[in-house]
Symmetry: C2
Subunit: 419 residues, 2 copies
């Protein structure tokens, strides 16, 4: 068997550990030079494949590839670009196969979330039809933690650790200030549809009185009266109240609270500011001074406080993906299987791409307390192991020492193609 | 000499390392039982002294006191409360002395910023007049880094490390997303009057093209045209632009940009949202998609990414304060003196409280580049050593293991007093 090249691309929002997966794909591929030639990466994800803008990762040193394991962001660029259905855009899929053929690519690794698993599934089916079979393996990645079958998604554990750490720290701060100054602290976190990240904030509270005291999930329509009553009660008891809120919080009419909150100076709906909407509501109705934080990209790029479990799993799925490809397993995705909960153990299994594509795993109802403002013990048992362990990056000049690859392009062999 | 008790209080906005100072004060005092009895802490700062709400720190274990070294926030509570001038409120100062007398307090340690050094100075003068001399020592603390004489202020180095780390990480993220999604990332940081924290963001950029690409200082009135031109240029060159902005950014009319930005849903001025104002301006004028982050309390409570230098200095000033008090040095403050810049070395010297009280140290003009959007090499030389070294807290269940003291009160001996 002549060694074929492999194509690897990163898709959608990046994470603190997606490069650990890239590291695993490249390092594992390099261990099999008899079967895999070069790993070619798509510059800016699948767009790089469509436009034949390929990066030759074989030109990067082993040390730089190893450094990907501790570098956040997407080393080759990612993209938000969903291939349309086969019927509408068959030409796009044909183009992909054409590029793969031109660069002798026999393996396709697509590292992303739901949409990407759908794309990978489609590509896995069309190669054969077009007479150029490619082994397609999806690799899970999403801070939203919403892929099915896999117990959790690489990227989520590190966000979870970041938000829980941050809200614990801020809670210590506001508790100190409450007597004469700030009594309310609101932290807004990601997760538009599923409350996994909001739930993770709850891990910071272990004892009576610990913040966060209230969580606002996208799954629970905002009940203003109940919320304000709980805030008041909390301040009367602890002199302060710490709140974690999802960017996707909805009002009872099913509208995003962030949009319902008002218009900005330019007359736009104020998105990404539900934290402020909630904080101001408390100020308006109860008179308490507030501070609020919007972690935004900080939460999903915070490699400095990554979960060691997450980093290991991100590496493991990348390694497993290459091993699956070498075994000729088309149309699959490595999945994390939890084999023990009390003493957390996990292993890598396999999911079929067609079972993963476009399915969103929501948070179980049993993970949210009956009042809608907290997490249950079952939720805690699920989340806790995912934030275990620290694996800090190396530091240089007092800052994390992250790598930038040279990302040298592969000469084009085909006519231009516009996306 | 009969051992007198010591009073210690935390004042103003807390930091990631103010408890390291508290730890040093208590540990050092405990080493001198012949001269210092108990360390009594003010619950919620100076308010605890005025209301005779004192905490008996002798009831805390050595292990819990040691754990303060890695715990953010203010362990005894802080306050935003400025004692008025002696003429207006002589009664308040007399009350302080009365409380000190009732609890046999011979040493007064006040851990705070400019206002607090003013209070400490006044107290240092009145004891003698009232026939109950107390040795008063101020201890520097402020994330704003604006105390004079001392080379830098404990608390600042850790914020600096946090903001530089965070903006570096976010810059890696947005660089990955720029092709099809977010091109602009704005991070808003603290520092209403002085741009020290904004400047620290600049440490994240070491090479051509590294973010942050632009900084907006409170010292430089916002020049919209120049700013937008630079953003455009940056995006054309690097496909993205990362911006650090001070909450205190002013427009050319000298108004806070955050206030000029619009009213919220309740008709309030939108404070703490200059990051969003700037981001939306770019979107409006240049059409680039943006994300923005507001670190708020996260930045000053992030003990998990504290600077080791900062922790050491926070401890050193606490220790020195007790040593100064034992030597009978009234009306002074330990100051950090930089003795070498190239190979950073520092030692603890002494400043007179009257020279520190109410003086704000602004950032030198020579620290901001001529175009107003960046930091100079001189600034980098000043800032770099302050973020050096990591001293992570212990972790338990995947999260920093911070201590909560029992904070048991001392029985009151005086009539009530309202503040």
């Amino acid at each position: 068997m002549v060694a074929k090249n492999a194509f690897y691309a990163q898709s959608g929002g990046v994470t603190a550990v997606i490069n650990a997966t890239a590291c695993a794909v490249i390092e594992t591929a390099r261990q099999h030079p008899d079967k895999i030639g070069k790993v070619l990466a798509g510059r800016n994800g699948i767009i790089g494949a469509l436009t034949e803008d390929l990066i030759d990762t074989s030109l990067e040193s082993a040390a730089d590839i190893a450094a990907l394991r501790h570098t956040p962001g997407g080393a080759f660029g990612s993209c938000r670009y969903k291939l349309k259905g086969m019927d509408q855009h068959r030409a796009q899929y044909e183009r992909l196969i054409e590029v793969f053929k031109a660069h002798d690519i026999g393996y396709f690794f697509y590292n992303g979330g739901n949409d990407s698993m759908d794309t990978a599934w489609k590509v896995s089916q069309i190669g054969e039809q077009l007479g150029y079979p490619v082994v397609c393996v999806g690799i899970p990645k999403t801070v939203d933690n919403d892929l099915p079958i896999t117990d959790n998604c690489p990227g989520f554990g590190s966000v979870a650790k970041y938000v829980a750490t941050s809200i614990r720290e801020a809670a210590f701060d506001v508790a100190s200030m409450a007597k004469t100054s700030t009594k309310i602290f609101v932290m807004e976190v990601m997760g538009r549809h599923a409350g996994w990240i909001t739930a993770a904030c709850g891990l910071a509270a272990e004892k009576e009185g610990d913040g966060p005291h209230l969580l606002l999930f996208p799954e629970v329509p905002f009940d203003e009266a109940a919320f304000l009553a709980r805030v008041k009660q909390c301040v009367e008891k602890y002199d302060h109240c710490v709140i974690g809120v999802s960017e996707g919080l909805l009002n009872k009419e099913g509208q995003l609270m962030a949009e319902a909150g008002g218009k900005d100076a330019f007359g736009h709906s104020q998105l990404g500011g539900v934290g402020q909407v909630i904080a101001q509501l408390v100020k308006e109705r109860l008179g308490y001074k507030y501070h609020w934080a919007l972690a935004d990209y900080l939460q999903r790029s915070a490699r400095h406080i990554a979960s060691a479990t997450d980093v290991e799993q991100a590496y493991a799925v990348g390694k497993a993906a290459v091993e699956l490809a070498l075994a000729g397993r088309n149309a699959v995705m490595p999945a994390i299987l939890r084999t023990s909960d009390t003493h957390y153990r996990w292993e890598i299994g396999t999911a079929n791409l067609k079972d993963v594509a476009n399915v969103e795993k929501m948070m179980p109802k049993a993970f949210i307390t009956a009042d809608g403002f907290g997490i249950t013990d079952a939720c805690r048992r699920y989340l806790s192991p995912l934030i275990e362990g620290e694996l800090p990056p190396p530091y240089r000049n007092g800052l994390p020492d992250y790598v930038r690859l040279s990302n040298q392009g592969v000469p084009r062999r085909l006519p231009e193609y516009a996306v």
